[in-house]
């Protein structure tokens, strides 16, 4: 295809509008994200196509594979458009009946529809389901609506029109001004104002500059960036293109973790299509501006998410951080001025250019504008990806959208910010999503991991989990980070084994302060946070482990006795059924008994007992 101009872009938008507004055919929008694929959505797609062809309705029905809808725990998910009818937990066996009822008889198949857990009412439309109704999808605006591999459909949703405006109508100064007004701050963790970063890079006089997208997403429990790349890859490319235009960069990299094969595939497809359309390459949209980009695959090192380490990694070395300044905006990749932003940050950019900075800043709190995407997981009913306006309370995310804690268990804490963040206890549930407010509570906004924990989670174990992580991932350059985290891990292990002494708690605080104050990069500086926040909010739990040799959550194996409490046991037999080593003796109407000789301490009995009867 010859290079496009604005008119071409407009005619593609008009020609494809019906496919995203669903004005012609009935569209079966089947989720093809990583989650739904692992529950079988690819087979379901084939089955749908087969059933549709058998019934001879293939000309009026399209099957479209979309990116992640966010409700992965209920996958595979199918939304029938234009009527917004939502189906979940599909299986292959359901498909013939579903096609017959929904498409031929025009009556929804109730047994696959969403039933409200409280009112037991069926909620047929996606937009009525609380999980979706309380969200504000800006970054995720195309989810479930476009096929991520189709550039035409992205264009039909006004895609690349922001880039066109940035290239053809706006000066770099105009763009910076809009970014400033929008108040957009980095979504990768630190929350640095985007317009400042771009401004510094644009002021550098260098013939070669770079734009880098940080898609390393190392926080173990976060999948926002993965979903954006899978569902809406062009929005990230467009954001990079606008950044490049602002600072006058000619080349870009997307640094993506190798653990995300589908995201890598979709981004590559997006780059290929954009090149074919002349939206990457030379003389983009006839503006004379040239920009191209490529993917760089990470090789599995958390510290490479740190910006200076990431750039070192692209240069081909061991990805170790270096001191700043100089900042990447001045001396980044191969010592050239470099703009480095997170995936979600960049995906916000087209929206700001299209709708204006003032519009964008209309949502949010005083210092945190726009929306934030969170990966909600752990002990919560509706696990998934949620996007909410800044300022929304944690309570509203966990209860209104997340549906609360499953079963009769109680909320204990929510972890924000992964290994650099902290746990927020129940008292702080009305905390708004806001960079400063969350920091004050001892956690960080982070990249968006939000892990809900119920009473079965042990806080000492949680602190140990993160310490184990950073200890493993420390690049080893700074002694406090390398050795100090090891020491903390040893202490936590001792406490979990029942060998802790009360002085250990002071030592934890001392060590934490040292690591925080004398490490080079954010990994070390924030590594003690999970320990400090659990010490701050759950001191009693540490003391229980140390003084009473008890783990209230029954998670620390060495402190569990593996004895059945006859008063609580209902003789349900589940422990007996699940014990892999035959250590549980059980007869009907009698409390179970565990044979310590045979018990291998696998914890399965505890995990299965619903009556908390095993001590």
């Amino acid at each position: 295809m010859p290079a496009m101009n604005l008119q071409d872009l407009q005619s593609i938008r008009e020609a494809n509008r019906h496919r995203v507004e669903f004005t012609r055919n009935t569209c079966l929008m089947l989720c093809g994200g990583t989650g739904c694929r692992s529950t079988g959505s690819l087979e379901i797609k084939e089955a749908l196509q087969k059933e549709i062809t058998t019934r001879g309705i293939q000309d009026s029905v399209d099957v479209v594979e979309t990116g992640c809808n966010g409700f992965c725990a209920r996958g595979p998910i199918l939304v029938v458009q234009p009527h917004d009818i939502f189906y979940h937990n599909l299986t292959l066996q359901d498909i013939p009946e579903l096609v017959q009822e929904q498409l031929v008889n025009n009556t929804p198949l109730q047994r696959l529809q969403y039933k409200d857990p409280v009112s037991k009412q069926i909620l047929p439309r996606q937009q009525d389901i609380p999980f979706f109704a309380h969200q504000l999808p800006w970054v995720l605006r195309n989810r479930g609506i476009i096929d991520p591999e189709s550039i035409d459909q992205y264009i039909a949703r006004d895609g690349y029109f922001a880039a066109a405006r940035a290239l053809l109508e706006m000066t770099p100064g105009d763009i910076l001004q809009q970014m400033h007004k929008s108040g957009l701050r980095g979504r990768g963790g630190a929350g640095f104002p985007v317009h400042l970063k771009w401004k510094y890079a644009s002021e550098e006089k260098s013939p070669v500059k770079y734009v880098v997208c940080n898609a390393d997403e190392g926080d173990p429990g976060a999948f926002m960036d993965r979903s954006i790349l899978e569902a809406n890859p062009h929005s990230v490319l467009e954001g990079m293109l606008i950044a490049a235009r602002t600072v006058n960069a000619g080349h870009g990299f997307i640094y993506c973790r190798t653990e995300y094969p589908l995201a890598l595939e979709r981004v590559q497809t997006a780059i290929d299509r954009a090149r074919e359309y002349g939206l990457l390459g030379s003389d983009i949209l006839g503006s004379g501006f040239q920009f191209d980009l490529e993917i760089y695959q990470g090789a599995g090192a958390f510290v490479c998410g740190e910006e200076t380490a990431l750039m070192r990694s692209i240069e081909g070395g061991r990805g170790m951080p270096r001191p700043r300044p100089p900042f990447p905006a001045q001396k980044g990749l191969w010592d050239r001025p470099t703009v480095l932003n997170n995936v979600e940050t960049l995906a916000n950019v087209p929206l700001i250019i299209l709708e204006g900075g003032d519009w964008y800043a209309g949502v949010g709190t005083e210092h945190s504008k726009g929306t934030k995407v969170f990966a909600l997981s752990g002990d919560v009913r509706n696990i998934g990806l949620v996007e909410v306006p800044m300022g929304t309370s944690l309570c509203s995310i966990i209860y209104d959208i997340g549906g609360g804690i499953p079963g009769k268990r109680k909320f204990k804490a929510v972890q924000l910010g992964g290994p650099s963040g902290g746990c927020v206890p129940a008292e702080y549930l009305d905390l708004p999503v806001d960079y400063e407010a969350i920091s004050r509570a001892g956690a960080i906004m982070g990249s968006g991991g939000m892990i809900v924990m119920d009473q079965r989670t042990c806080m000492v174990d949680m602190a140990r989990f993160f310490m184990d992580f950073v200890q493993e991932e420390s690049c080893g350059k700074c002694t406090p980070c390398r050795e100090g985290t090891m020491r903390i891990l040893e202490i936590l292990d001792r406490i979990r084994a029942g060998d802790g002494v009360i002085q250990d708690l002071w030592e934890l605080e001392d060590l934490s302060a040292t690591i925080r104050d004398s490490s080079l990069c954010g990994l070390g500086q924030t590594a003690p946070n999970p320990v400090l926040s659990t010490l701050k909010y759950f001191p009693k739990e540490y003391e229980d482990h140390i003084r009473n040799k008890k783990c209230p959550a029954k998670k620390c194996t060495a402190l569990v006795k593996f004895r059945v409490n006859a008063d609580k046991c209902t003789s349900c037999g589940l422990c007996h059924k699940n014990c892999p080593s035959g250590a549980v003796h059980w007869k009907k109407k009698q409390p179970a008994e565990i044979d310590p000789q045979k018990c291998i301490k696998c914890m399965l009995c505890l995990d299965n007992c619903m009556f908390d009867a095993i001590d």
Partner: protein, 173 residues
């Protein structure tokens, strides 16, 4: 090692003999190296593609890569040991990756890990003597919605219990 070195007719390089690297693999390796000779910062990429070809990165191969790319061996070893993607030990025919990320941890990933270790006498990162399985822990594969999650080769499995994990593995030899 000197006596292991032999010369092949279609290459200028000395290829050390190695039982896990077939002649076909050597050709692939040389092709990768040729393509990357002038690319700045290509070491990681060369290692990745060579590991894809051979299954792991034997020490002899790292030496060979360093020599061919004309960079110090210490640099190649440094990169190979820094990133968790690279393995210098032989790996199994089937790679089991149990997610031990936060979401999976909260949902009982340790129970699965423990059960697999006990059943197949494995440690994290080790391989069964018959090379049937390699067990690895990974930190989040982005499928937190399906926690606890596990990957066998390239297939993701969600909401698994220790029993189901063992059952799934029976199909892989």
């Amino acid at each position: 090692m000197q006596q292991n070195i032999f010369h092949t007719d279609n290459s200028d390089y000395f290829r050390p003999a190695h039982r896990d690297i077939t002649p076909g693999m050597w050709q692939g390796i040389d092709r990768v190296i040729q393509e990357c000779l002038d690319v700045p910062g290509a070491v990681t990429q060369v290692l990745r593609r060579c590991q894809d070809l051979v299954g792991y990165l034997p020490v002899e191969l790292l030496d060979y890569i360093a020599h061919s790319l004309n960079i110090p061996a210490s640099e190649v070893f440094g990169v190979a040991s820094f990133y968790s993607l690279f393995s210098m030990k032989p790996r199994g025919r089937n790679i089991i990756r149990v997610c031990t990320g936060t979401a999976c941890h909260v949902r009982g990933a340790d129970l699965i890990m423990r059960r697999l270790k006990q059943t197949y006498h494995l440690e994290d990162g080790s391989t069964t003597p018959d090379r049937r399985f390699t067990l690895e822990s990974v930190r989040c594969m982005g499928a937190c919605g399906l926690a606890p999650a596990m990957n066998i080769n390239q297939t993701a499995h969600g909401h698994i219990t220790p029993d189901q994990a063992l059952k799934l593995l029976q199909e892989y030899y």
